[in-house]
Each structure stands twice: as structure tokens, then as C-alpha cells.
Symmetry: C2
Subunit: 397 residues, 2 copies
């Protein structure tokens, strides 16, 4: 597998673009991805009981068509908690896109991100849709889906499948609340491999547990979260089937890309100054390990301590204890940036100043050895800073 | 029921005091409550798997003796994550207290709060224990158990039981992380009523679900949380038995006192500028209602919005949706300080400036009507401010 520079349109047969349509004041706020042919598709959606209109429409369409040929996204307005009017607007967004691209409406996926409770401005939408071109400036797509993210988040990898070089590309936008109104995590992944929707969904669902579901910025699950993967088969490789060597290769590619985007989202969490990576070793089972890793990275106390470069292992141990996981808490080692700060669940002497200095970087790694089994797990998050409070306490203006 | 001024030693037959023993630099850091006679006792303890030594000792002793005659508390050092040495120290603390008071060790309850992972300084402990007097300055007890709480938390009520006037008193210390190392919520309740330990435990366990378990400051469950109730029967009323009118009266008293202390803890959360009260109406059942109320009051986004006086109902709806409760999300009304901001799960027009002004007070009430059943629930918390980050990010010095 090779990591390359590229865009969401790097895989064969995809085009993408972004522009300013009028959902926001000035910034790019409307983007699309189009495949030359209907692509196999897989999706995962928010677990929030309150689900935004574009997700309801996309999920229903994918269930019907089992394929997708285009994804249209606006930022600035989330079209969430907007009742029947919002649902009608989402269907109109889908219908108008399909008309423009001369494809079936059920082949169009939708996503919105931004302020909750505001209706989609139809003028901006029509303005955006009128400009859809099948080949565009694909790097602008990554920018058009952002809200208050501070940077675009892209990852592109290639891998040989027989004589074909398959390319897979992903773009994501951040968690954090972004507009001080609503968090949304969106990720779109394109690939030119030949793989069925059923197989694609299997791989996506498997890896989402250990990647996107293992990041947290503030513990608030959005109404708009969604990950969509399209594979259009334009590379004409032999179909990738489950339980084959090719499948494992494909799975590894997708896992790498998802983990990379997840980490980029965590690192760009609102107000964040550091990416925190928690590595849990020797957990009783994988699920317990994941629960513990996520509990630690989600703790407000751990997050503030790391912001303050305080090697406060007591807070880490407390977060392990309340994770709700099946774990024995009598023989735990904790290392901060490789420096042992707790051994066998008891204090050990360590140089506070040296440890503090080691915590100064942009990546902070916590290692937790539970000595309780053979499973491993990871989670990613960010520190909790003054700026998080500032961004989210500001009155909407 | 009457609410009166008083101390933890207001009920008949109790004495209490607090002093500086040397666990902290200057402030009061050692306190005790002593009953003239062994008292019926009930306790609830942290659900964290990591449990501090004093809790382990107290729980075991209460199981054996079913009575308690004294509670000794130090602040400054939590005696948590201190291994065998910490457990030995806790047993020594219990043994020395018993020796001084000439009672059985199993009649002595212990609590510690403060820094995690540090051993109990035995010199300070012996210094404190040497000064135990059976009658003391009881108001100092409420101060001696504090860490970075900004105020003492006391509540005293009286009620007639036949011809006897029963007094019940409670003292608590705050959640928040206090020393930037460990949160601890402690509450001690004394009463001169005649009631068995079994009956007392029943009432305590029932009310803890709707009071102390419904508050949150930062979602981190401490290793030292504990609530202990002692009833010494000195008022010589007829024994209070379950399923009687007297029992209901006693239950109501205890519930009032527990809710009052819980709210005082929430209000004094680290960095808090406001007490937030969430009232859930028409929930499917009580448990769902409680989960929803607590999810809303625990949301970092709701907390920061309230700090910024932003009537951001979308965040409230999102927190209802991810509460994990059994709830229909299609017909929800939300009121902020009595002003409707969402009706039937759709936006309604409201005056933002007026609402913002209404949010300026020290108490902020959110009302959520689920139109989904007949149950009600409440939860309390505080806003999330710059000072929370400041208090918890500061390097321990």
C-alpha cells in the first residue's frame, strides 16, 4: 500500500468540485462527488435518535437502489430538526441533482452540516445545483464541506490488485461543534475497485468500530454524522470477494484510510492543541479495551490535565474504573509518552518536569497495560482548552 | 417539616468538630462526627471499579457491625490508588480512632478526599486524632471536609413524630475536581430518630437515584464518592417501620435533605457560574426521564451554551436523542426559563434577546416535555466555563 497526494477524485471515474452557493457568507459551502457509473455503496449513520433530513433520505435511497452515483453536500445549514419542511427540502435537493445529472434520484446521496433548526435556503441550493459540472476542481470539495474546521482532511492510498492499481480516497470534516450550534462528523470515501455493496458494507461496518467510533471531541453525538463509501469498479479489477487475500488487502486499505481521517478529525477538534492517542494493551477482550480507551480519551479531567501538560495519572486510572468495562483494576501500568507513571496500580517515582516536557508536543500518547488478557484497542481525542469553551459559549450572531 | 439553621451535630446525641492537622498547608483538613451511642447506619458508595482504601474499610465494617458510632474524615489526601500501604493506613486510622473513643473499630467510618496516589501522612493523622474531643465546634466539620469547594454545604430539617421532634442534618462536599487531581463527592447525614439500619438503607438507596445520582459536574465518577447516614435513636421516638405514615414522613425528610445537598454540590461545581435544573415531563417511564435529564445536563455543548447565555435548543434536542433512553423524539417541547424555544420537535419563533436576558440569573431552568408518558424526572448540573479549564489544567504545584 502506498500513501499518495491526491483528492477525493483521484480514483478512476470520479469527479468532484466545491463552490460558494450562499449557505454561508463567503466561504465555500457546496460540493459534490460524481461517479461516471453507478457505484457500489456502503454507509454508517448517526446513532442519535434525532436524525437529520438528508440522512433519512440518503439511507432510504441506498436501501432501495443499493448503488450511488453522486453525493451532494452543503455546509452552513444542517437541515436537522426542521420537520416536514426540512424533509421536503432534502427530497427536492435530491430530485434537482438527479435531474441535472440525468440519473435516478435514488442514486444521489445527501449530506448537510451547520446550524440546526434552520430551514435549507432553497435559493442557495438552486444556485449551487445550477453550477454542477461533471469535471471540477476536486480539491475544493474538501474545503466546501467544512464549517469551523481549521484545515481540510484528506487521505489517498493505492494498492495493486493483480495487474490493476486500485486507488482509494477519503475526505472528512470535523467533530467539534464547529458553528457553535451543531457538531457533524462527515466522511466520504471513493474507490475505483470492483466490489459489491454487500461486501463493502461488511468492511465499512467492521472498521468503523475501531476508527470513527473511537474518536471523541466532546462526547456529543451529532444528528448528522455519516460515513459513505463509493466503489465504482472503473479499475476493472477482478471482483473482490470475502475471505480472499484480495479482500484482506482491500480491508487493510480502507482501515488505514478511516483511521487516518478519524485521527485528523480528533486533532482538529474545537480548541484542540494536541491529538491524544490512547493505546490499551492486554485487555480481557477487544470491546473492553475499546471502552476503556474511549473512556480515558473522553474524560474532561484527563483532557484538561493534558492541556495543562500535567502527568495526572490518577485521573486516567479513575476513567478506567468508570468505563463500565470488564476489567481487573489491580495490576495496571500507565505510561505517558513512554514514561511509566503508574505500575501495578500503585504510584511509582518519576521525574515530573521531564514528563511535563515530554508532554509538550502536538501528539500525546498514553499507554495503558491492563495485564488482563490478550486484546488491544485504541482511541483518539483532543485536549480541552479555553478555546473550546470560547467557541461554544459565544452567542450566535 | 421545618428547615432550620444548624450543624451536623444538631440532632440529639451527636457532636462534631474540625481542625487543621497537617494534610493541607493551612486550611482545616480533619473532622469527625461522634454519636453518644452506636447508631443505625446506611451507606452508598462509588460505582467506580477503582475504590479508595477508606471506602473499602468503611463498607466492610458496616457490613459486619450494622452500626456506626463515629465518622472520621481527612481532606487533602484521598488515600486512593495507594495499594496495600494505603489500606494498612486506613485500618490504622480506624484503629486509632476507636482506641481514642474507646469503641470497637468496626463502629468507625472513614472518608478521605484530595490528591490521588499519595500516601496518607501518618504524622498529620496522629496529630488530628490526638485532638478528638467528644464535644466540639460542629460548624467546623463542614469546613474541614472541603477541598477547593468555594462554600460549605449544610442542610438541617426537623419534623414531629408523635410527641418527639426529630432532627436530621446533612453536610456535603463538592464534586468538581477540586484539587486538580481527584473529584470526590462526600455527604454525611445525622439523625436522632429511631430507625433500623435495614430500613434506613432502603430509604437512602431509593432516594440516591433521584438526588445525588442525578447531578453531574464533569461526568467523571470519583474513586472516593460516598454518602453515609447515621440515625442514633436518641430522640426515643417509636421505631419507624416500613409502610407506615411515619416512614413516609421520614422518607420525605431524607429526600428533601439529599436533594438540597445535591443541588448545593452542583451549584458549586468547579468554575460554575450557574446551577442548571432540568425538568423532564411526560416521560415514558421514570428511568427514561432520568437518563434524558442527566444527558442534557451533562452535555458539554449545553453547558457551554448556558455559560454563554445562548438559547441553543438544538444542542438540548441532540442530547435527548443520544441519551440512550426509550423515547419518541417527534413531539418534544423545550422551554428555557419558561420561554418556549421548540415545540413539537420543530423550531418556533422566540425573542433571542429576551431569552438571553432571562438566562442571566444564577439558576437556569430547562423544561423538556416529551409528550410520551406520565413520568417526571429531574437532574442538576452547572455550566462549563473558562475557570473549569483553568482549575483543572493547572500543573500541580
Amino acid at each position: 500500500m502506498k500513501i499518495i497526494d491526491g483528492t477525493i477524485a483521484s480514483p478512476l471515474g470520479f469527479s468532484a468540485d466545491g463552490l460558494h452557493a450562499g449557505f454561508k457568507k463567503k466561504k465555500l459551502d457546496f460540493g459534490w462527488i460524481v461517479s461516471e457509473v453507478p457505484a457500489s455503496v456502503a454507509g454508517v449513520y448517526t446513532t442519535n435518535k434525532v436524525i437529520a433530513a438528508p440522512l433519512l433520505v440518503t439511507k432510504a435511497s441506498i436501501q432501495k437502489s443499493q448503488k450511488l452515483q453522486a453525493i451532494v453536500v452543503n455546509s452552513g445549514v444542517a437541515n436537522s430538526c426542521t420537520g416536514q419542511q426540512g424533509l421536503d427540502a432534502a427530497y427536492e435537493m435530491q430530485r434537482l441533482t438527479a435531474q441535472k445529472l440525468k440519473i435516478e434520484p435514488d442514486l444521489v446521496g445527501l449530506a448537510s452540516t451547520g446550524v440546526i433548526g434552520e430551514q435549507l435556503p432553497m435559493d442557495a441550493l438552486k444556485n449551487g445545483l445550477s453550477q454542477i459540472l461533471v469535471s471540477g476542481k476536486a480539491e475544493d470539495f474538501a474545503e466546501a464541506i467544512l464549517t469551523t474546521d481549521t484545515c481540510t482532511k484528506t487521505c489517498v492510498v493505492t494498492e495493486e490488485f493483480g495487474s490493476e492499481l486500485v486507488t482509494m480516497a477519503g475526505v472528512a470534516k470535523g467533530s467539534g461543534m464547529i458553528h457553535p450550534n451543531m457538531a457533524t462528523m462527515l466522511a466520504f470515501i471513493t474507490c475505483d475497485a470492483n466490489i459489491s455493496s454487500v461486501t463493502l458494507q461488511k468492511v465499512l461496518s467492521q472498521h468503523v468500530e475501531t476508527t470513527f467510533n473511537q474518536i471523541t471531541v466532546d462526547g456529543d453525538t451529532s444528528t448528522n454524522d455519516m460515513v459513505l463509501v463509493m466503489a465504482n469498479g472503473c479499475q476493472q479489477n477482478e471482483e473482490i470477494l470475502p475471505d480472499t487475500e484480495e479482500f484482506e488487502k482491500f480491508s487493510k486499505m480502507l482501515r488505514y484510510l478511516m483511521a487516518d481521517l478519524a485521527k485528523k478529525i480528533a486533532k482538529d477538534g474545537e480548541g484542540a492543541t494536541k491529538l491524544i492517542e490512547v493505546n490499551v494493551r492486554h485487555a480481557k477482550d477487544e470491546r473492553s479495551g475499546r471502552m476503556i480507551a474511549k473512556s480515558v480519551v473522553a474524560s474532561s479531567l484527563v483532557k484538561t490535565a493534558i492541556f495543562g501538560q500535567d502527568p495526572n495519572w490518577g485521573r486516567i486510572l479513575a476513567a478506567i474504573g468508570y468505563a463500565g468495562a470488564d476489567v481487573s483494576v489491580d495490576n495496571i501500568d500507565i505510561l505517558i509518552e513512554g514514561i511509566p507513571v503508574m505500575q501495578a496500580s500503585s504510584p511509582v517515582a518519576f521525574d515530573s518536569e521531564e514528563t511535563r516536557d515530554a508532554m509538550a508536543g502536538e501528539l500525546l500518547t498514553l499507554t495503558i497495560d491492563l495485564h488482563d488478557g490478550d486484546s488491544e484497542a485504541q482511541a483518539w481525542g483532543c485536549d480541552l482548552s479555553y478555546d473550546y469553551v470560547k467557541i461554544n459559549a459565544l452567542y450566535r450572531t
